[in-house]
């Protein structure tokens, strides 16, 4: 029986965020995911992914690298619970999460 796959990514650089309240967007459901964004003391952006779809590390890395390139936020921890969302849905939820952080917009 296939278990979960856990992935970690660290992206360096970016604009440091002022302190903000954690925010949650999305729901863990088939083809969907939830994204929790929290302030972090480290520079850069750390992303932890728990996913039921195993074997997609390279796709996750491409989608998350694109996210970091588009927003360039630092001092941010992103935690994801995923149930087989497509890359487009993942990008949408990440954008929603950034929109939910006051002060994340340049």
């Amino acid at each position: 029986m296939a278990g979960m796959e856990t992935l970690h990514f660290d992206f360096v650089g970016g604009r440091a965020l002022a302190p903000f309240a954690p925010a949650l967007v999305g729901v863990v459901a088939s083809g969907n995911l939830e994204v929790l964004v929290e302030p972090a003391s480290h520079a850069g952006c750390r992303i932890d992914v728990d996913t039921s779809a195993r074997g997609f590390r390279t796709v996750w890395e491409a989608v998350l690298r694109d996210f970091h390139a588009r927003h360039g936020l630092a001092g941010l921890a992103v935690s994801i619970n995923d149930m087989g969302a497509t890359p487009a849905v993942v990008s949408l939820r990440l954008d929603q999460a950034v929109a939910a952080i006051a002060g994340a917009r340049p």
Binding site: G3, M4, A29, E38, M83
Partner: protein, 299 residues
């Protein structure tokens, strides 16, 4: 065009229900109190285990509130999910808010968690009855797309007040469960019209199973919840005997397991075939006649 309450997420419903910005969450997603069981099954957890709990104000009154997310595991009650509800209810006994409002959307016990989920649901029932017995108003709002079934269907009926939208559903066994146990001849779960007229808000309203029938609209649910803040139905022996007599009268009226159309006709509704197409307010107006017919043992 207002937003559909059924299509909102649990957290959107919660925000739309209470006074703006008044919700203070306990055990929020960042606390990561998640299911200890799901990872072993290869199923992703949710940071809130599918339920948000906390305190808020409603029309300025202090309430405790919970909202179940039907999109996560069908709103199933797992060990942590149930413990969050029980903790909320037990805290209500200590802090005595004016009411506890539960936004229910659940298929019942989360079967992945087996006995832990079953025990959790029974603990929620006990805790809800304790809160009701303490004279704190208990309000169940059923408006999510998944309805309110199984153990949560029983929990709902433990409250002082149950409010449903016309497109909400409430029952014990869900349509697929009945069909798999007794066959499509008994109950065809793919017949949506049959499912809705048997478990839907209009039927629950006409047969006396819910206390409010509203449109699929967040403002309508908010108004109904405010109206329920001072509704107390103590569970006295007399009240239970009245309830029992009502259920017996309904069972008599439904003697040969009639279709809802037939039962509505027996409850004195002249054009029962028109009910599925009526707006909620039109169906609301039919309740007194149905209640009177039921009290008289069927028309």
């Amino acid at each position: 065009m207002t937003q559909s309450f059924a299509e909102m997420s649990a957290r959107e419903r919660l925000d739309a229900l209470v006074d703006a910005g008044s919700f203070h969450e306990w055990l929020p997603p960042s606390a990561r109190v998640t299911s200890p069981h799901l990872a072993q099954l290869g199923v992703p957890a949710a940071f809130d285990d599918g339920v948000a709990i906390g305190r808020a104000t409603l029309a300025g009154r202090a309430i405790f509130v919970a909202a179940q997310e039907g999109a996560f595991m069908g709103g199933g009650v797992g060990e942590v999910h149930g413990a969050k509800l029980v903790g909320l209810l037990q805290r209500a006994l200590r802090d005595r808010p004016d009411a506890v409002v539960l936004l229910a959307e659940s298929g019942g016990v989360r079967l992945h968690e087996a006995n832990a989920g079953l025990i959790a649901v029974s603990e929620v029932m006990r805790a809800l009855l304790d809160v009701r017995a303490a004279g704190i108003a208990t309000v169940l709002l059923i408006g999510g797309e998944n309805g309110c079934f199984g153990g949560m269907g029983i929990v709902a009926r433990c409250a002082d007040t149950v409010v449903m939208s016309d497109i909400a559903r409430h029952a014990m066994s869900g349509p697929e469960v009945i069909e798999s146990a007794h066959g499509a001849g008994e109950f065809d779960s793919r017949d949506r019209a049959l499912v809705w007229r048997t478990t839907g808000g209009k039927h629950r309203w006409l047969s006396g199973d819910c206390d409010g029938l509203v449109d699929d609209d967040p403002d309508a649910f908010r108004a109904a919840a405010i109206a329920a803040l001072d509704v107390h139905r103590p569970m006295t022996l007399e009240a239970l005997q009245q309830e029992s007599a009502l259920l017996q009268a309904r069972a008599d009226a439904d003697g040969d397991n009639a279709d809802a159309f037939e039962l509505w006709t027996r409850l004195g509704i002249s054009d029962s075939r028109a009910i599925p197409d009526l707006e909620a307010d039109a169906v609301r107006a039919l309740r007194p006649a149905a209640a009177a017919a039921l009290a008289n043992g069927g028309a």
